[in-house]
């Protein structure tokens, strides 16, 4: 009967779908070594290290150098920089890319020095995590400030670059990586796409 054949065909379809997704499910278990609690532990450690810079009053250029060393170990600095350049990255020569990497670090260092004082008296409490699929794990925390409301601070952690590293920080839904991409895009546009001019400006700007 027609209906029997229909059922057979449906079963066959189901089996085919199950068979095609099975390998994906199995590898998902092994490939995604990073779980929620590992990621939370990673952020807790990172927060403690950052806390150390504030507590020991590591301001100025020396503190910034220490901060950068910490970022090189714990964050995907180059991947974030590449992301922030968007499509322009592929139009850049090797020299421009290398110059950008240096300028980007200078930009981070300037940001650190300009904003250092703002973090005194603040405390970060890790509150949980959410799986963000291929993007990694989103660790949630609250930034507690004296005399004002808590800020939702999230940390996107991924092991896609080989080791567990920070990909992004999100303040109340505002991603640092996306904001950098928008800011850099605006800077490039205002210079009519002059990449070298942009890189020079980046190195001397006061930071984010």
């Amino acid at each position: 009967m027609d209906s029997d054949r229909m059922i057979d065909r449906r079963k066959l379809m189901q089996a085919a779908i199950a068979a095609s997704t099975l390998p994906a499910i199995m590898t998902a278990g092994t490939a995604r070594a990073l779980n929620g609690s590992d990621a939370e532990g990673f952020v807790t450690d990172l927060v403690a290290e950052l806390r150390g810079l504030v507590d020991n009053n590591r301001s100025g250029a020396e503190g910034a150098a220490e901060f950068l060393r910490l970022l090189e170990q714990r964050a995907s600095v180059d991947a974030v920089g590449r992301f922030a350049m968007g499509r322009t990255w592929r139009e850049m020569s090797d020299t421009q890319q290398a110059n950008f990497k240096t300028a980007f670090r200078k930009y981070i260092s300037n940001t650190y020095q300009n904003r250092f004082g703002e973090y005194a008296g603040e405390e970060i409490v890790v509150t949980g995590s959410v799986d963000a699929g291929s993007k990694g794990v989103l660790v949630k925390s609250l930034l507690k400030r004296p005399n004002s409301a808590d800020v939702a601070l999230e940390w996107l952690v991924s092991d896609r670059g080989g080791s567990t590293r920070l990909s992004d920080i999100i303040f109340e839904g505002v991603s640092l990586a996306i904001s950098l991409r928008e800011t850099f895009g605006g800077m490039l546009e205002s210079r009519n796409g002059d990449i070298d001019g942009f890189i020079a400006e980046l190195a001397t700007s006061k930071g984010a």
Partner: protein, 257 residues
């Protein structure tokens, strides 16, 4: 009882509003830069309005909110902030119903009852202690729930950053708010109430400027390009607000090629 006719009329209004936001977005769906956070085909006009808004802030809002901060005792500021949130509750309740979220509508109603009675008509906020914290929403979110697209980026005079969906939402939200109905004389109450409703908007604006002073000052006066910073911050913040706390969709994929 809601008659069948009333229901179909509601559907019609709903369809029109969704269509309106779609049209406002569609008439300007320029081939957007794939890197861009949001399409901004009217950037030059938006930048002009941004400069105007910045001027308004500089000469009016910023100084007024600083005087407010300086001249008002902390306790009074606290009570005013509570009252501002309390007065938003009827609007929040209506929007939760329109979104079909009965549970959240119930929470808004519970919060309203508690803060009306134990909270001295909204000056205090015992509801938060009882596990019913302030959970804002607006008509822009309702439009999103109904399926309207976000649209393009707009900077509105006085109101500041918006998406075309949020811009439509702002207007409807204003009309939906019982405070507006009192002011407009739709709900005829004693003079005291309508005077309070009229005074509410400026108080709300000053309170909001004061509560976000640090952030607003930073965006407007300390950033490289305040237009871009405001746009980037607003669009991301708004998407999180519309999409909910646990949404991971908007997160960047820094390893993408």
């Amino acid at each position: 009882m809601i008659s069948g006719q009333a229901v179909s009329r509601m559907w019609w209004i709903r369809a029109c509003l969704v269509a309106l936001t779609l049209v406002s977005a569609a008439c300007a769906s320029a081939p957007a830069d794939p890197d861009a956070l949001i399409a901004d085909p009217y950037e030059q006009t938006n930048r002009d309005i941004h400069a105007f808004n910045k001027g308004v802030d500089q000469v009016l809002l910023k100084p007024v909110s600083e005087v407010y901060d300086f001249a008002t005792p902390a306790l009074v500021k606290h009570l005013i902030a509570n009252e501002v949130r309390y007065l938003q509750l009827p609007g929040i309740f209506i929007n939760r119903l329109l979104q079909g979220d009965i549970e959240a509508a119930g929470a808004a109603l519970g919060r309203f009852s508690l803060n009306t009675t134990l909270g001295a008509v909204g000056l205090l906020d015992p509801a938060t202690e009882f596990g019913l914290p302030h959970e804002p929403t607006d008509f822009g979110v309702t439009l999103a729930v109904w399926g309207a697209d976000e649209g393009i980026y707009l900077e509105l005079p006085f109101f500041g950053p918006a998406t075309s969906r949020h811009a439509v939402g702002r207007v409807v939200n204003f009309v939906l708010d019982p405070g507006f109905l009192v002011t407009a004389g739709v709900i005829d109450l004693s003079g005291v109430l309508s005077a309070a409703a009229t005074a509410r908007t400026p108080v709300e604006v000053v309170n909001a400027r004061h509560e976000n002073a640090e952030l607003i000052n930073e965006v407007l006066y300390e950033s490289e390009d305040s237009y871009i910073t405001a746009r980037t911050g607003y669009v991301q913040f708004r998407r999180r607000f519309v999409g909910g706390q646990d949404s991971t969709e908007a997160l960047p994929d820094i390893f993408e090629e």
